[in-house]
């Protein structure tokens, strides 16, 4: 089920400003790919291009090709003219930097939101099952099972983030994009989410943007390093390699400087 993602010559614009230039990479199925790099180098912008959330920003546009290749060999060009961005986002879920549960909804409704908001009709017990399964998968079930009807905004930050992960996986996407999911969390919640990612990669293709190089080294199979030549210049992918290689013997000098803390 988990697809492979092939990106070819991707350029991302905000209006006339070229934010990310010429990204070509492959993301392997059922693995975690980490994207690292200094602030403003376009990691998050690139990530948002993968589920066509980039174009939600007024004036933002995309050039290049992103292809989703399913395990059955079926191929979809995400930016093809006959592809609805809404369908893309149903297949590629996302977890954001700041936990953003819907404030008007209970814990239960937040998890069910993906289905409810899409107008899916489901009988109560099937929905109950789905909510429990998603919350268990997000390691949150034991903490919230007695307060499913309380507002999602009342949970702690780490719990809210896991609630958002449960919400994202409840719609059963094939790819999970995570934009610095732990940057607002304490070490214990971070650990919980990292363990969760390791479990989830059995079923999903996961791409995570992180500023925490230890985190990239801990969880990911391969790591991509983004950099930018200077202020106002577009960001670009410097290299992508297996994580062990990036952190011990990278191909590029800039990568070595970055991961060893000499700049950035």
């Amino acid at each position: 089920m988990a697809p492979r993602i092939d990106v070819t010559d991707l350029d991302l614009y905000y209006g006339s400003f070229l934010a990310v230039q010429g990204v070509t990479l492959s993301i392997e199925p059922r693995s975690i790919t980490a994207l690292i790099g200094p602030s403003g180098c376009g990691k998050s912008t690139f990530l948002r291009a993968l589920n066509r959330l980039h174009e939600v920003v007024p004036g933002a546009r995309v050039e290049g090709k992103v292809v989703l290749e399913g395990s059955s060999g079926q191929v979809v060009d995400l930016y093809g003219s006959d592809v609805d961005p809404v369908d893309v986002r149903r297949r590629i879920g996302m977890v954001f930097q700041r936990p953003n549960p819907f404030p008007t909804m209970s814990v239960y409704d937040n998890v069910a939101a993906g289905l409810r908001l899409n107008g899916a009709r489901m009988n109560r017990s099937a929905l109950d099952d789905l909510v429990e399964r998603s919350l268990r998968a997000a390691n949150l079930w034991t903490e919230v099972k007695d307060r499913l009807d309380r507002p999602g905004g009342g949970l702690s930050g780490g719990q809210q983030q896991r609630l958002c992960i449960a919400r994202a996986i409840a719609v059963e996407p094939e790819v999970l994009l995570m934009d610095e999911p732990c940057s607002a969390l304490d070490p214990i919640s971070t650990l919980a989410i990292e363990d969760l990612m390791t479990e989830l990669k059995e079923h999903f293709t996961i791409v995570i943007v992180t500023h925490n190089m230890q985190q990239a080294a801990r969880v990911s199979e391969s790591t991509g390093f983004f950099n930018l030549a200077g202020p106002g210049r577009p960001g670009h992918l410097v290299e992508i390699n297996p994580t062990g290689k990036i952190f011990s013997n990278p191909d590029n000098r800039a990568t070595e400087d970055y991961v060893s803390g000499r700049f950035g």
């Binding site: 959330l53 008007t104 908001l117």
Partner: protein, 360 residues
Amino acid sequence: MSTAIRPAPVIDIPTGTRQLPTRRRLRRSSTAGLYLAGLLAGGALAALSGSGIVLAAGYGAVLGTVAVYVVSRSVEGRRTATDRLVTCVVVAAFGIAMVPLVWLLWTVVSKGARRLDGTFFDSSMLGIVGPGGGGYHAVLGTVVITALAAVISVPIGLLTAIYLVEYGTGRLKAAITFLVDTMTGIPSIVAGLFAYALFAVFFGPGVRLGVAGAVALSVLMIPVVVRSAEEVLKLVPAELREASYALGVPKWRTIVKVVVPTSIAGLGTAVMLALARVVGETAPLLVTVGITNGTNLNPFDGRMATLPVFAYYQLTQPGFPPGFAIDRAWTAALVLIALVMALDLAARLIGRCFAPSTRR
């Protein structure tokens, strides 16, 4: 670098050697007392010189402020004294701002209470000359016409605001924003004449209809709804919209199920405040709806009575003896103020009841 855990260095803080410098402070009661003494002195001064209550309050505020500042400066130092001086000025400004409000309320309540009886609420002016009579027809007329205005302007206003915040780009958005801003400034009589002219096209000159009044009020109400609803919708964080998009929810469903429910409290408040803004309009109703002595609750059939126009005619054409009609006008004004206050209160209640709670 070794990862062995080193014992935390012990920092020896000698107790009692360093203390925060203590300052002499005036007690709250003593500053209040000083200010009060200044006020009384000002009153005495005004009484001696034979000037009125306004001058007395002015003298008193100045004397009180000076007394507080001088004493505070000598006891507490310059910084605290400046703080107290500004506090005194702010309190005085607040007092001045409250004067017209309290004065107005007092006048309306004291004069309006005379006819605030059962008769006022259960009889119209049909066949009334002299005492008795009431505003039953006017109260209901105001309710009907304002409700009709809300029915017209709330959908238009909310949808316009949603368009401006969620969809609008470029020239069209700028043009709509500009027109809405211009509409906000339209004098109410112009709105009334517009509605009158519009209905005169279809029903001939001299037309008086409740629905024409509702249209006139809508012209005034729509820009208010648009502007305040726009501000409320802008407050919904972009992250929530993106969270919804990321779940594969189409834009229109995101708006209906996430954006609007998140801001429903603010939208309710916006509508209520816009209603409160138009419920007391007189001029547009004067030219479009007119007045009648009997009860007419059908806005599509001829003249209706409304509270502001009722008050206006009772005051300007009181008949003889004029006292009874003028009393009715004051009571109508009092009921109108109560109506506006009830709407504001409803706005607050809506805001509180529908606000997303974070109860754990």
